[in-house]
């Protein structure tokens, strides 16, 4: 089944916006972000906490909005179908069937009072029309697939009886249960022990490849995105500030913020006891956005223009960045 226009992107986002009304005025958590994602590819969305990356992705699939007083705008198309125009029921159907999501903390993203097998089977019964016996069988198969030993026993256990890494494997099983076309992993390893982070990332990557899913990998850690994502979108203060292939980003970032993120990563080639550079300052208050580039106050390359005018994401040979003094040019001192 292929509703996709051949060659067209699986997911296409145009000018996504999310605002929250607060006492201090409208808080623009996501402010005009656009991107495309091709089937089978992985997009890493990278940024500090509060940069709007999670809100962006959750708003795309309708998980921000009801009750929170959020104002959501922009256009989202999955397989060419306009998601914002769908009725609530058909949107839910599409969400359950075509999109899978893995949250940060499996401790809170799994229902504490429901058996694991049932949590996995639930989506199958609803979206794939399986009866409960078939859903239970499939749940066990999925547990095997995500690498959980003794799957039959585990299926009848509750989340608190599993370790953190196991729980995240269960969460992945839930996400892939309905064979989605798009898998969203929202900081999938942040809440886990360092020792299991890699296993979870490997598992995600394997599933993504084997099933030919597209994946959005949200992380605050460029290092996590490094080996896993085909493309990277860097977000700062609710906007996309740089977009390029992973190779290009690591070879030479254009936006000073991206460079700062890279500098804060430890490298194997660094001599021991090298100080990691932290980014000075803090992200801006999203409810009080001034004129000019949001990163300017923390940027070492800023010029007068940066504080007066807002740079837009300009495209240059397939990659985009929002900066007046990009690195690798005469204006960027890092050249």
């Amino acid at each position: 089944m292929s509703g996709a226009v051949s060659g067209g992107p699986l997911l296409s986002v145009r000018d996504a916006r999310v605002g929250f009304g607060t006492v201090r005025g409208l808080l623009r958590a996501v402010d005009g972000v656009s991107f495309d994602l091709q089937a089978g590819r992985t997009l890493g969305i990278v940024g500090e906490s509060g940069s709007g990356k999670s809100v962006l992705v959750r708003s795309l699939i309708g998980l921000v909005g009801t009750g929170s007083g959020a104002i959501v705008g922009g256009e989202v198309r999955l397989d060419g179908q306009d998601l914002r125009g769908l009725s609530a029921a058909s949107f839910r159907h599409l969400l359950g069937r075509d999109i899978g999501i893995v949250f940060q903390d499996p401790m809170t993203s799994l229902n504490p009072v429901m058996k694991i097998g049932r949590q996995i089977g639930e989506g199958l019964r609803l979206n794939r029309g399986l009866d409960s016996a078939a859903a239970a069988r499939r749940a066990v198969e999925l547990l095997v697939e995500v690498g959980i030993p003794e799957p039959e026993r585990r299926a009848s256990q509750y989340p608190h009886e599993l370790s953190g890494g196991m729980r995240q494997r269960v969460a992945i099983a839930i996400a892939i249960a309905c064979e989605p076309k798009l898998l969203i992993a929202d900081e999938p390893t942040t809440a886990l022990d360092v020792t299991v982070q890699r296993q979870i990332l490997d598992l995600l990557q394997r599933e993504q490849r084997e099933r030919g899913m597209a994946m959005i990998l949200i992380t605050h850690d460029l290092g996590v995105a490094a080996g896993r994502a085909d493309d990277i979108m860097v977000m700062y203060a609710g906007r996309a500030v740089e977009m390029a292939t992973t190779r290009e980003i690591f070879r030479g970032p254009r936006m000073p913020y991206t460079e700062a993120l890279l500098r804060s990563l430890p490298r194997l080639t660094d001599p021991t006891h090298t100080r990691l550079s932290a980014i000075p300052g803090r992200p801006p208050d999203l409810a009080r956005r001034g004129t000019g580039c949001s990163f300017a106050p923390r940027c070492t390359y800023r010029s007068g223009r940066c504080e007066a005018e807002e740079p837009v994401l300009s495209r240059e040979g397939g990659r985009g960045f929002a900066c007046f003094n990009p690195l690798g040019t005469s204006g960027g001192a890092g050249a």
């Binding site: 929250f20 009304g21 607060t22 006492v23 201090r24 808080l27 958590a29 906490s49 509060g50 929170s68 007083g69 959020a70 300052g281 803090r282 992200p283 801006p284 208050d285 999203l286 409810a287 009080r288």
Partner: protein
């Protein structure tokens, strides 16, 4: 400040300093209190004076709220009944909070065996359904204003002890308490000077709620004929009297019921408001 990560804060509803929601209950409670205090001087007829020819009269110019089964003036009885309710409602929780507060604070401060004993004691008092215990107490102490107050006061001990214990536990490990201890302050001094002032606001908010609960409890006792003894008016007793004439003179039951309802409602409103100020976290309950 501008740099703090902005969160989508829910707009606080604290604005409107004197909204209707505050003014009306406040005005009603003030009226009840004022009348209860001045009852003897505002020319009310004797609340116990019977005039059987004039029994069960509906409200009129002569009897603003009508007369009851025995021809007694309802307005006068309501006001004097309010006095009873307020005396019991204010004094009983005060008594309970004095004892319960002391128990709770010692338990929360000293912990260990003291705590265990206190919690055990509270558990046992709580093991009785409140009204049943009150009935039993009053029945054997004998019916009088003082005994009813005492019985209901004893019943408010567990709640007071719980609130003060929880608050003391929360404060006892704060730095300023530890600091006081390191400079050699006595336990008594720490409890009264350092912890008590911090526990009092929560106790006060709780006391307001307790007042309305006790007024209801007193009403229930009087309704059952086990509260304030007969000729003395009380709201619960009036409702019970009125119950017999519900078909011919419903006002004899409905008027005291309405007055009691408004009083308890107003007190709950005020209590909620104070509690929101003292402890915003628990405002949901």
């Amino acid at each position: 400040m501008s740099a703090s990560a902005a969160e989508p804060a829910i707009v606080a509803r604290r604005g409107r300093p004197l909204s209707w929601a505050l003014a009306l209950p406040l005005a009603w409670v003030a009226l009840v209190v004022f009348l209860a205090i001045t009852a003897d001087w505002i020319g009310l007829p004797d609340p116990a004076a019977q005039e059987l020819i004039l029994r069960r009269k509906p409200p009129s110019a002569e009897f603003l709220l009508g007369t009851d089964n025995l021809g007694r003036d309802m307005l006068s009885r309501i006001i004097y009944g309010g006095r009873t309710s307020l005396i019991v409602g204010i004094c009983a929780p005060f008594f309970g909070f004095l004892i319960g507060g002391a128990i709770g604070m010692s338990a929360g401060y000293f912990r260990g065996k003291v705590d265990l004993l206190a919690v055990g004691f509270i558990d046992i008092l709580l093991a009785f359904p409140t009204l049943v215990l009150a009935l039993t107490f009053v029945a054997y102490l004998g019916q009088s204003l003082f005994n009813v107050t005492l019985a209901l006061g004893i019943l408010s001990i567990p709640a007071a002890a719980r609130v003060s214990r929880a608050n003391t536990l929360a404060w006892a490990n704060r730095d300023f308490v530890l600091a006081a201890r390191t400079i050699g302050a006595s336990n008594w001094r720490i409890l009264t000077r350092e912890i008590l002032p911090n526990v009092l606001p929560a106790m006060f908010a709780f006391w307001l709620v307790a007042v309305s609960v006790i007024i209801v409890a007193e009403g229930a006792l009087s309704f059952l004929g086990l509260g304030i003894p007969a000729p003395q008016p009380s709201w619960g007793g009036m409702i019970a009297d009125g119950r017999e004439a519900l078909d011919v003179a419903p006002h004899t039951a409905l008027i005291p019921a309405a007055v009691m309802f408004l009083t308890v409602l107003s007190l709950n409103f005020l209590g909620d408001m104070v509690r929101n100020l003292v402890d915003p976290r628990r405002s949901a309950l």
